[in-house]
C-alpha cells in the first residue's frame, strides 16, 4: 500500500488567499494525502479549516487529523508566526505524541 504526502513550501502557501489555502488543504486530504505545510496555518485558519471540514463530513469521510507547532510570538507580541502544520485524513493519521517542538504520528493506508 502506498501513502502519498504533499509537502508544501511556505512560498506556495503565501501565494494563496486563506480560502484558497483551506480548499487546497482539504482537497488534498480528502483524496487521501498527508499534507505538510511549511510555515503552517494560523490558529484562525485552523479553526476555519475545522469549520469547512465539518460541512463535508459524511459516512466515508469522518474528518481530519491535524497537528502543528504552536505559533511563535513575534515583534512586540503582536505578530504571531505560524509554524509547521500537518493535516491528514482522520482514517489514516493518528497523532501519538506531541509537545511544542515535536510531533509523532502513525500513518496507515486505508
Amino acid at each position: 500500500m502506498e501513502i502519498k504526502m504533499n509537502l508544501i513550501s511556505e512560498d506556495k502557501i503565501n501565494s494563496m488567499t486563506s480560502t484558497e489555502k483551506l480548499r487546497f488543504v482539504l482537497d488534498g486530504v480528502k483524496s487521501g494525502n498527508i499534507v505538510v505545510l511549511e510555515g503552517g496555518l494560523t490558529s484562525e485558519e485552523q479553526m476555519k479549516l475545522i469549520e469547512l471540514t465539518m460541512t463535508e463530513v459524511d459516512d466515508d469521510f469522518p474528518g481530519i487529523e491535524m497537528s502543528g507547532y504552536p505559533s511563535k510570538r513575534g515583534f512586540l507580541n503582536i505578530r504571531k508566526k505560524a509554524r509547521l502544520t500537518v493535516i491528514g485524513p482522520a482514517k489514516m493519521m493518528h497523532t501519538t505524541k506531541k509537545d511544542k517542538d515535536l510531533i509523532s504520528a502513525v500513518i496507515s493506508a486505508i
Binding site: E51, M66, S67
Partner: protein, 236 residues
C-alpha cells in the same frame, strides 16, 4: 488581510476596555467532547439560579450537546451566596481565605458542543445506537461544532474545560487558545475531573504555562469557588 485582523483585534480590545463593564458578559464554556462542559454549566445554574434547572443533559456519550445553549442573566454573587447558602464547599473555602467571596458578576453562560476535527458515526454504535440514529447524530454533531465555532464571534470570555485524566496538549485545545489570544478575549482553563484518581491537573498547567489553570470537579463540586473568583476577576 493580516493587518485587518490585527486592527480588528485592537478594536475589540479597545471596545472591551471601554464598554465591557456595562453589558452582560457572554461566557462560552468550550472544550473537547466529554470534558464536562454541560456538567459545569448545570452546576453554575444550580448554584446561582435554580437548583432544578438544567441547560442540558450530561452523559458519557460524546456529542450529547449538539446545539449551543445560552442561559441569560446568571448572577455570580459570591458574597450573597456564602451568606445565604451554607454550601459546604463555598464555606470551607472561604474560611481558609477570609477575604474571598465578595465578587459579583452578571453573565450569560453558553454551553457549547465539543470541538472536534473528526466525527465518525461508528463511534456512536458503541453506545448502542442504531446505524441510522448514529448517522443522524454524527450529522447533528458536525453542525454543533460549526455552531460552537460561530459562537466565538459573540463571546466575551471563555472557560476552556479540559479532562484532567487526558492529554491536554491537543491541537483543538491549542487552536481555541490561539484564537482567543488573537482576538484578545480572556480565557480561563479549568482542569476538570480532579476527583478521579488518575487526574493530573498539573500536566495542564505545564502545557499552558501562560494561562491560569483552575483544578475543579464539576461533578462533585470541588474547588468551584476558585473558578468563580477567577471568573469574576477576569470577566468583569
Amino acid at each position: 488581510m493580516k493587518s485587518k485582523r490585527r486592527w480588528k483585534s485592537i478594536l475589540t480590545r479597545l471596545r472591551r476596555a471601554l464598554f465591557f463593564r456595562r453589558g452582560t458578559a457572554k461566557i462560552g464554556i468550550y472544550g473537547p467532547p466529554n470534558a464536562g462542559k454541560t456538567t459545569l454549566t448545570n452546576r453554575i445554574i444550580h448554584t446561582f439560579v435554580d437548583e432544578n434547572e438544567d441547560v442540558g443533559l450530561a452523559t458519557e456519550v460524546p456529542h450529547e450537546t449538539r446545539r449551543a445553549v445560552r442561559r441569560e442573566g446568571v448572577i455570580i454573587d459570591l458574597k450573597a451566596k456564602s451568606l445565604e447558602n451554607p454550601n459546604p464547599d463555598l464555606n470551607s473555602e472561604s474560611k481558609v481565605k477570609p477575604k474571598r467571596g465578595k465578587a459579583k458578576l452578571k453573565l450569560d453562560v453558553v454551553d457549547t458542543p465539543g470541538l472536534a476535527t473528526k466525527i465518525d458515526f461508528h463511534e456512536f454504535l458503541a453506545y448502542g445506537l442504531e446505524e441510522d440514529e448514529a448517522k443522524k447524530r454524527a450529522k447533528e454533531a458536525t453542525e454543533g461544532v460549526i455552531e460552537a465555532i460561530k459562537w466565538l464571534d459573540d463571546i466575551d470570555g471563555v472557560v476552556l474545560l479540559m479532562d484532567s485524566t487526558e492529554d491536554p496538549y491537543t491541537q483543538t485545545n491549542i487552536i481555541i487558545i490561539g484564537n482567543m489570544e488573537a482576538r484578545g478575549i480572556p480565557i480561563i482553563i479549568a482542569a476538570n475531573k480532579v476527583d478521579l484518581v488518575d487526574a493530573t491537573p498539573q500536566r495542564i498547567a505545564n502545557a499552558f504555562p501562560q494561562h491560569s489553570v483552575i483544578p475543579i470537579s464539576a461533578l462533585k463540586g470541588e474547588n468551584m469557588l476558585d473558578l468563580y473568583e477567577e471568573m469574576a476577576r477576569r470577566f468583569r
